[in-house]
Each structure stands twice: as C-alpha cells, then as structure tokens.
Symmetry: D2
C-alpha cells in the first residue's frame, strides 16, 4: 500500500542533494544514490515523512514552546545523528520498510537543528506509532459479504513519535543546510500534487457506480442523469488533464531527473481539493436516498 | 427524534383533505382533525411515510412488475382497509408512535389502488422494520470519551415492509382520489423543503468547530482563514435566508392553514443539496489533515 | 432614474443623526427631518454620494498625498461650511435635484475634517460633473428600431468634483463626529446591499428572453434547456430570498426607523456579485452564438 | 485575423477525405492535398464555415420549412456544383482569402443534398456578407488615445448568404457521403475545442491588468487580492492544462495527421465556457467600480 509518497521523496531528493553538494561540497548525493540502489534491489516500500505536528502555526520550529513539535537533531557522534520529534498523518508508514524524514516548512538560520533529512527503518529503535482512525474503519472487521473489492483491508495513517532515533551518516541526506529546506519541500510537493491525479481512479469507480444505479432505477437514458454523469466525467478528466499537462511540461534538473511543471501541479492539486466534493454530490443525486439509508 | 416530517404530513393533509372533501363530498377532513386532536393530546411523535421503493423509475405504480413496490390497498371490509407494500428511508420511524402512509408520485386513473393515505400505530400488525446503516454508526457503541454532545445515540432510517396492515376507516384520509396525490405531495414537499433550513444548525456547529481549530493552530487572524469562515457563514445564511423568505411569503389555504412559498422552498432545498458540500470542504481546509487522520 | 441610493442615505441618516445628537447634544436630527419634509413635499430625487476616489487604499484620508482624494471641510463661517474633494461612480447624480455627501470609510480622530455629511443642490456652485462611459452607450444614439423598451435613454454614473461648495448649517448633518462615520456607512450599506434585490428584475427579463429564444429555436421542451432555465430561476430567486429575509428580520432603531438584518443583507449582496455571471452564462448557452454575432 | 478555424478545417478534412476515399473509392484526398499546397504556397487565410442557421433545431436539414436554412447542393454540371444556403457567425470571413463550406450536423440518408464540402474564394459570385455587431464596436472609430494595443481594428463575425455559388470539382471534398458528416464535425470540433486554449492569452492580460490596478490602489500585498489573483491564475491555467493534455494524448489517424484527444478537448471547451466568467468577476472585484464608470 502506498508507494507514491516515498517515490516523491526519492525524486525530490535526487535533485536537491545534488544541488546541496554543488554549493556546500558535501556528498549527500552519493549517499542518496547508494540508498536508492538498496531500495531498488530489495524492492522496498518507502514512507515519505514530511509533515510535522507544527503546534502554533504562526511560529517557526525554533520559536515553538515545545521543540519537538518539529523533528530535529538532538545529538550526534561519529557514527551518525539522533533525532526526536514527530511526524503526523503518515500514510502507509506501518506497512513501509523504510521511512525518509524531511523538514516540512521553509527554515531560517535559527532553525538549523531542524534542517534534517535521513532514512530510518520503519522499526528503528525509538519509533512509536499511534494509529489513526478512518471513517467506517471498523466496517472491514464486520461480518457479511455485501462489500466487494478490497473489503478486508484498508489504508492507514499514523502519528509517528520519534525519541532519539539513530540515523547513521550514510543515511543522512541533509544536516543543517536550512536554506535548502524550501527547495526540497517545493520539489516534493510539486511531484506530490501532480500525483493526486490518482484520485481520478476513485472518480472513475464512482462514475461507474452512479451509472449502474441509474440502470437499476430504469433511468439511464433520462437527460438530467446523462448530464450529471457527463459533468462527473468532465470534472474527473479535468483533474487528469492537469496532471498529464504538468508532466508534459516537465523540465530536466541539474542532477538529471525531471521535475514536472509546478504551476500545473498546483492546478491539479486545487482541482483535487474541489471537484471530488462535486463528483460525490452528483453521485448521491443520481443514487437517491439509498446511499445514506441502505441496510447492510 | 425527528418530529418535522410528521408535522409536514399533518400540515399538508389539513388543506388536502379539505379540498378532497370539497370536490368529492367525503369527510376526510373531519377524521383528520380528530386524529390531530389525539396526536396533540397524547403528544405523539408521527412518522411521515411518503417514499416508496419505486422499482423501475420509468414506470408508474400500476406498471411495475411487482405491485408491492408502491404501497396500495389490497383489501377492504366494513371496518377499514388493508394495505401492503413498503416505505423506504423512513427517518425516526422506530421511535415514532404513529406513522402516516402517503403516496409518493403523481398518480393516474390506473393507479387508483395506490391512492391511499392512512395512519397506523408504529407497532401495527404486519409491519416489519429493516434497520438502515449510517456512516460510522458503530462508533457510538465504542468505548472512550472523545466524542461529545449526543455521543451515545444516533438517528435512524429504516425500510418498512407492510404486509396486509389494517387501517380503520376513521384513520383513512384518502382512498382512491388519485388526482389529489400530486397536490398532497407538492404541499408536503413544499413544507419539507423549507424545513431543511434546520441544516444551518449543523452548519453553525461546523463553522464554530473550524474557527476553534484555527485558534488552536495559532492562525485565527490569518486573512484566508477569515475569508473561509466568512464564506462558510455566507453559504449557511443563504440557506437560512431562503427558508425564512419562503415562510414570509406564505399563503393561507382554503382549510385555514398556511402554506409557505413553493418556489423559495425549492431554492432552500437546492441550496441544501449544494452548500453543505462546500461548507465541509472549507471546514476541512481550515482544519488540515487531522480531520481525516486523528487517532481516537 | 435611481431613487434608491438617496433613500438609503435618508434611512441611515435618520437613525445616525438621532444617535449623534444623543451623544453630542447636537440638533442634526431636527435639521434632517426638515430636509426630509422638503424632499417629500417637492418630490425631489436625491443622489447618495458616499464613494470618494480614495487614492492609496492602504492609507486613510488624512494620510493621502492629496487631501482632496476624500471630501472634506475646507472652511466655515457663520452661514455654513465649504467642502472640497470628489465623489466617484455617482449613479444618477446628473438627474438628481439634491445630493447628500457622506464619508466613505471608517474615520479616526486625525480624519475629523473628513467627517462631513451635508446636502447640496445638484447644481450648486463649485460642482463639476465628469460623465462616465458605459458599455455600448453610444448605441442609443444610433439609428434603427431593433432595440426595444427604454431604447433611447440610459443610466449614467459621473465623477463629481467639489471645489469649495457651500453648505448652509441647516443642511449639515455631521461635522467632525468622526466616530459616527462607520455607523453611518454600515447602516447605509446595510440598506443598500439589501436593495440589490432589484437586480432580480433584470434576471427575470433575461430568463424570459432565454426561454423565448429556445421557443424560436424549436427546443423549449428539451431537458437541458429546461434545466438551465430552472437553474437561472433558482439563482435569481436565491438573490430575492436573501433580500426578503433581510427585511423580514429587520429591527427598530432608537430613532424609530427600521433597519433590515445586516448579515442577510450581506448574503444578498454576495449573491448579487456572483449569480448574475452564472445567469448570463446560462442565457448565452441557451441563446447560442447569435447574442455575440447578431447584425443590427 | 483568425487562422485557427481554417486550420481546424484543413486538419479534419485531411483524415476524413482519406477515409471517405477508402470506403467510396473517390479521390477527395488527392484534390484536398492539391488545395493545401496552394494554400501553403500562397500563404492564404482560410475561413472554416461550418455553422448553418439551422432554423427549427428539433428538425434536420431535409425537414425544415425552408431548405436554405442548411447549405446544400442545388445544381451540378460537368464543371462542378452549385450551392445555396447560409453560414452564420463566420469569424474573420471578410478578411479570408478562401472559405471552406462544411456540414454542421449529423446527416441521414434524406439529407444527402446537404452532405457537401467545398472551398470557395471569399469573393466568389453569389456570396453576400451581412456584417455582425460586436459589443462596443463603434468605439474603435471614436477619437481619443485612451485605448491601447490594437485600438483601431477589431475582429468580425458575419452571416454569409450563398446564392448558387459555383464550386469546381477539384475544390469539392465531399458530395453526398452523408454518413461521413458526423466524422468530419467531430474531428473538426475536437481540434477546435482544444484550440480554445487561446483564450488563456486574454486571461493573462486580464490577470496582469487586475494586478496593475491593485498596485495603483496601494493594495498589491493585501491577502484577499493575492488570493483572487491566484484563483484567476488557477482557472486560466486549468484551461491551458486541458488543451496541452489533449494534444499530448493525440493519436495518429489513418491519413497520417494527428488528432488530439477528444474527451480532453471537451474538458478544455467546457472550462472555456465557464472559467472566463469567474475570471472576469474576480477582475472586476479587484478593480472596483471604475471598470464600469470610468470616463474616457
Ligand atoms: C489522508 C492524508 C494522508 C497524508 N499522508 C501524508 C504522508 O504520507 N506523509 C506526510 O508527510 N504527510 C502526509 N499528510 C499530511 C499533509 O501533507 C498535511 O495534512 C498538509 O500538509 C496540511 O498540514 P496540516 O494537516 O498540518 O494542516 P495545517 O498546516 O495546520 O493547515 C490547517 C489550515 O491552516 C492554514 N495555515 C496553517 N499554517 C498557516 C500559516 N502559517 N499561515 C496561514 N495559514 C496557515 C492552512 O492553510 C489550512 O487552511 C497526509 C494528510 C492526509 C489528510
Ligand atoms: C436521510 C434521509 C432521510 C429520509 N427520510 C424520509 C422520511 O422520513 N420519510 C420519507 O417518506 N422519505 C424519507 N426520505 C426519502 C427521500 O424523500 C427520498 O430519498 C427522495 O424523495 C428521493 O427518492 P429516492 O431515494 O427513491 O431516489 P430516486 O427517486 O430513485 O432518485 C434517484 C435519481 O434518479 C432520478 N430519477 C428518479 N426517477 C426519475 C424519473 N422518473 N425521471 C427522471 N429522473 C428520475 C432522480 O432525479 C435522482 O437523480 C429520506 C431520505 C434520506 C436520504
Ligand atoms: C464568436 C463566435 C465565433 C464563431 N466563429 C465561427 C466560425 O468561424 N465558423 C463557424 O462555422 N462557426 C462559428 N461560430 C458558430 C458556433 O460554432 C456556433 O455558435 C455553435 O456551434 C452553436 O450554434 P448556434 O449558435 O446555432 O446555437 P444553437 O445550436 O442554436 O444552440 C442554442 C442552444 O440550443 C441548444 N440546442 C440546439 N439544438 C438542439 C437540439 N437539437 N437538442 C437539444 N438542444 C439543442 C444548444 O445546446 C444551445 O444550448 C462562432 C460562434 C461565435 C459565438
Ligand atoms: C455601477 C455603479 C454605481 C455606483 N453608484 C454609486 C452611487 O450612486 N453612490 C456612491 O456613493 N457610490 C456608488 N458606487 C460606488 C461603489 O459604492 C464603489 O464602487 C464600491 O464601494 C467600491 O469602491 P471602489 O470602486 O473605490 O473600489 P476599491 O475600494 O478601490 O476596491 C477595489 C478592490 O480593492 C480592495 N481594497 C480596497 N481597499 C482595500 C483595503 N484597504 N484593504 C484591502 N482591500 C482593499 C477591494 O476589496 C476591491 O477588491 C457605484 C459603483 C458602481 C460600479
């Protein structure tokens, strides 16, 4: 479950480590390439852990009352570094093999200790997971065979607590170069916002389901039903279009990887934050009351 | 739980029984007034049961393969009538004392047997309830005290199966006057669509919750947050406005009850089928990821 | 042409002058009532002149480079006061008999000289009008009889330049009580935003025109055409509903006039800034290309 | 002015003539290639004339009261054919060198006479132009230098009346193959709807203008202004994205030309029929009243 966030982390680190090295003479890019080789060879699932709890959003990491509201370096020795803090909303972290920790906001010189990127095994010492709830999540544990498809399993997000988690030097890909935090975040989100195009798959299922219910109801040819299915399709394909266009306008970075177009990735993301609500609304309109009241 | 649908049924029957009597010389209105007296005296909760399962929506009641897809008279004797069929999506029926059965679509002469209105006790012989599921409905049965307000109880909709349910003559308020079905439905929905104004109460709670989270996050003064809360309020008050305006433009019916304005009641309903999606979207935007991933 | 802005000015001054007098012991309310008597007796059209050019919107009146960007007192004597400045976007001012000058932004103590309300005859000495253009405004001067209704006349907005315009004391209704500027503006806009309900009249004409073109095209019964006309009607009536509801929830002020509900007046205004665009879009969709390309 | 419609006509005829020939053994494709050679050699502007007046939209060409409501063949001889009828809303036809006539609706066997494609010089015998009006079209003839850019010229649409216009055989590209009308129309509109991406150029100008006015007003950094400019940009780029994506997903036709993706071209078109209204609304919000009332 969920390889996309990790892939976005790998892609954005490819170019960012290259550009940090270029400026600072570090060797993050080489370390990073070694890490990628391992990932590919062992076919590992990577969790991309960017989002910190963030506390008071009007303040940066160094100004919070509690320094652990953003993940940071707390110690280092010749073998590596030790990090504490937390990562929130981590999709699929529990079924990942490795997790890449990255900063989540633009950092200033004061925030140097928070300018940390590194990879840890998901079961590293000092890592605690607090499992998040999802809507109707107990349903897959109920009896009955009315649910179809992936009826027995679900995704998951968790809150990760990090308590002096060790990262050896060869798995550290940023350490104090605070001015590169925003570059990493912007490239990560650029990839990630374009990847929301996956939500059109859910849209397709919903469109198909709505059309099937209209068939059952004897109204598939009714004009307003067709109009609504066309509108659902329009909205869904508009999301798709923005994703495809963003990729098509991609640019080669200095390190050799491609980065998709930023503005169009934002368009994709904005569409995804809007259209699924309208697609659902139309699906519910077509389906009638039973979506809400169906016995199981 | 839920007195509004029953009230809409009582209001619309007040004027419709009066106008049936006027044309057909029947005495439904008198019977109906007696029923209302009992309801008021005993403070009864009334379920308004209009919606039939309807089967193939391209056909009327008489043309369905299965005649029980719409509720109809199946027998009568000197004491009263016997009805069979079903009513779907019945809010609060299980906690109601009495249920009023009403037709759900415009009827033609062929559909005479389906032109039935009558009141039955909720536990009448021949009535079976199939309880409907609701999103996260098992949650109120879980342990923990994170939920607030009405944490232990929930609403309910059920499918009601009617198998030769007896209705004595004094509880029959329409019997065969098919041409009055649409009048009853239009008046019922006119009241009911205006009553959706209640959804603005949920909206108010959501607006308050969103504002509270923004406080917690340290961003209550941030301009885009304020704009979003204003927009949520605008949409919520737009629903409210349509309801109030519909009542204000109400007209007195022949029987003496008032009927709110039909066009503005539709405006209210249309707003309710649209704005809550956008209000929720904005609430989620303000709240951030935790709405989806919060542990419990 | 256009009595509404003047009426809003009169209504909001009724309660505001009363409340200024209450605090400051002035006699503005009495002067104002005398003025209203004259207006009513002579059936005068009043222009409500609130909007100043405002210059740099990040600064208040006293901080502008040019003090005349907001209208202000420049001199006074025993007979009255002298004002200079300008009023922009003044609807119908050229066909008004009298014009009421009012401040346009919340004022601070520094802005005392700008806290002026007074009435002047439209042709007072020192007043210059710069006539504004409107879309297709020369069309009413062209030959041909293809246009219908009010084909030969149009509305107008003008920029009014005020150069030491004299206002006698009995026509001065605020002079330096800067803390009442925001009360006056808020009440004025409260009336005025509710009055935008008039735009639904234009909407009705557009809905009728669209329906007529669909008749000409032979497609009045086509489902998507009907849906679009219903949607146009829904939007138009939603504007109407907010206006009516705002009036219905009106409150009596200390001076005895009623003020409609502020929040719902804002809802009305917001609807008016949005829905007419969608109503026009649908009208153009129904009408086809000829709206844009029709020869005349 | 306006080469795009002609280009869409050429592209769609390339593949359609090829496929007609394939089925019917005709030589339209060869004739067409000769025509294209001339166009390219002489750098001709081509008008693409598809839209007929269409009369009663509930009926096809053969069922209209007036057969000239759709363009059709009225005579033929050994040199060529003669066509009568009309073409409405023809952009740039008056400044074109040649005009390509094409059918505008799906045709049945009865409509054979209307299944005509052919190229005529813009000044061919029997052609009359009725010039269409545009909003504020007389403005470019007024004095003053307040307008900028292309201030002295404008586009134009005209109604073309065709009265026995002769087309020699080598300029006839369809003659009676009615079942290919819908293929031609669908391909033409597929190209054309994608080409609406050009409207984003206008959007860019409007975004820039709105941002400039905000600068003049001293409010460029104000949060709601920035949000509105971002939203304008989002909508404009969403149109762009759909166009680019449609091209990216293009497919090679049998004749060798590429056809962009149909579904995404519709998405582009739908966006264009919606977003510019919202972009304009935001521009007007940012600009304030002066857009409407500015003197000139
Ligand atoms: C289903 C799901 C899966 C996810 N998976 C992952 C994952 O795998 N890995 C990962 O790293 N993250 C993941 N995330 C986290 C996601 O990236 C964040 O939710 C997102 O970045 C928003 O952060 P937040 O939830 O802290 O919201 P906040 O940042 O708190 O935002 C709440 C609101 O406050 C506003 N706001 C916040 N700060 C400011 C400010 N300073 N100024 C003005 N406005 C402000 C925001 O605009 C927003 O409207 C996931 C989230 C979800 C919902
Ligand atoms: C939470 C909830 C509570 C409810 N409570 C009650 C209650 O207390 N009492 C009660 O009586 N009812 C109740 N209802 C039922 C409600 O009134 C119906 O859901 C509603 O009338 C729609 O009927 P339906 O669900 O059968 O949908 P359908 O009528 O099947 O509609 C599904 C879609 O098909 C379209 N459609 C259906 N027929 C046609 C046709 N002939 N031509 C063109 N299009 C068509 C509809 O427009 C819609 O888009 C409740 C519903 C819900 C969701
Ligand atoms: C600025 C501009 C430039 C143009 N330039 C060109 C050009 O260069 N070349 C060219 O060939 N054309 C051109 N057009 C024409 C354009 O392609 C047509 O306007 C468009 O195809 C719609 O046709 P119509 O105007 O006849 O509208 P109609 O087809 O009359 O549509 C009006 C409404 O009726 C509905 N309707 C019509 N018929 C039916 C039906 N049978 N069933 C259900 N609903 C129906 C439509 O959906 C629409 O809502 C231009 C148009 C414009 C506005
Ligand atoms: C057709 C028409 C008729 C009118 N008739 C009359 C009339 O009869 N009498 C009358 O008095 N007025 C009249 N007006 C004026 C109307 O009240 C003003 O247009 C309106 O108040 C907006 O003022 P403005 O045009 O100066 O825009 P601005 O105030 O300049 O606004 C432009 C944009 O900048 C933003 N903005 C401005 N200042 C700030 C700030 N400090 N902080 C953040 N954002 C800011 C606004 O929100 C807006 O988005 C009329 C206007 C029109 C269009």
């Amino acid at each position: 479950f969920q390889r996309c966030v990790g892939m976005d982390a790998l892609n954005s680190l490819h170019s960012t480590t290259f550009e940090i090295d270029e400026k600072h003479g570090t060797d993050y890019h080489k370390r990073f390439l070694e890490f990628v080789k391992m990932v590919q060879k062992e076919n590992l699932v990577i969790g991309g852990a960017m989002t910190d709890p963030k506390g008071d959003r009007s303040k940066g990491p160094a100004d919070q009352d509690d320094p652990d509201l953003f993940t940071r370096i707390v110690d280092k020795d010749e073998k590596g570094i030790y990090v504490s803090g937390a990562k929130a909303h981590q999709t699929g972290c529990i079924n990942s093999h490795w997790i890449i920790l990255m900063p989540t906001v633009r950092l200033t010189e004061n925030d140097k200790d928070w300018a940390i990127v590194g990879a840890i095994p998901a079961d590293a010492k000092g890592v605690t997971y607090i499992y998040g709830r999802q809507s109707c999540d107990t349903r897959s544990m109920e009896e009955g065979d009315i649910d179809d498809g992936n009826a027995k399993y679900g995704g998951q997000e968790a809150l990760i607590i990090l308590d002096r988690v060790f990262i050896p030097w060869d798995k550290v890909f940023m350490n104090g170069e605070y001015e590169f935090a925003s570059m990493l975040i912007e490239r990560f989100t650029c990839y990630h916002r374009r990847s929301y195009v996956c939500k059109t798959g859910l849209g397709d299922v919903l469109i198909g389901a709505a059309a099937t219910i209209a068939d059952y109801n004897g109204v598939p040819k009714v004009s307003h039903i067709k109009d609504k299915i066309i509108e659902m399709t329009h909205l869904n394909e508009a999301i798709f279009a923005a994703g495809i266009a963003s990729s098509h306008q991609g640019q080669k970075m200095k390190s050799g990887v491609y980065l998709n177009d930023d503005m169009l990735a934002q368009v994709c993301k904005h569409n995804v934050t809007r259209f699924p609500y309208e697609i659902s609304r139309l699906a519910q309109d077509i389906a009638g009351g039973l979506v809400v009241t169906l016995p199981s």
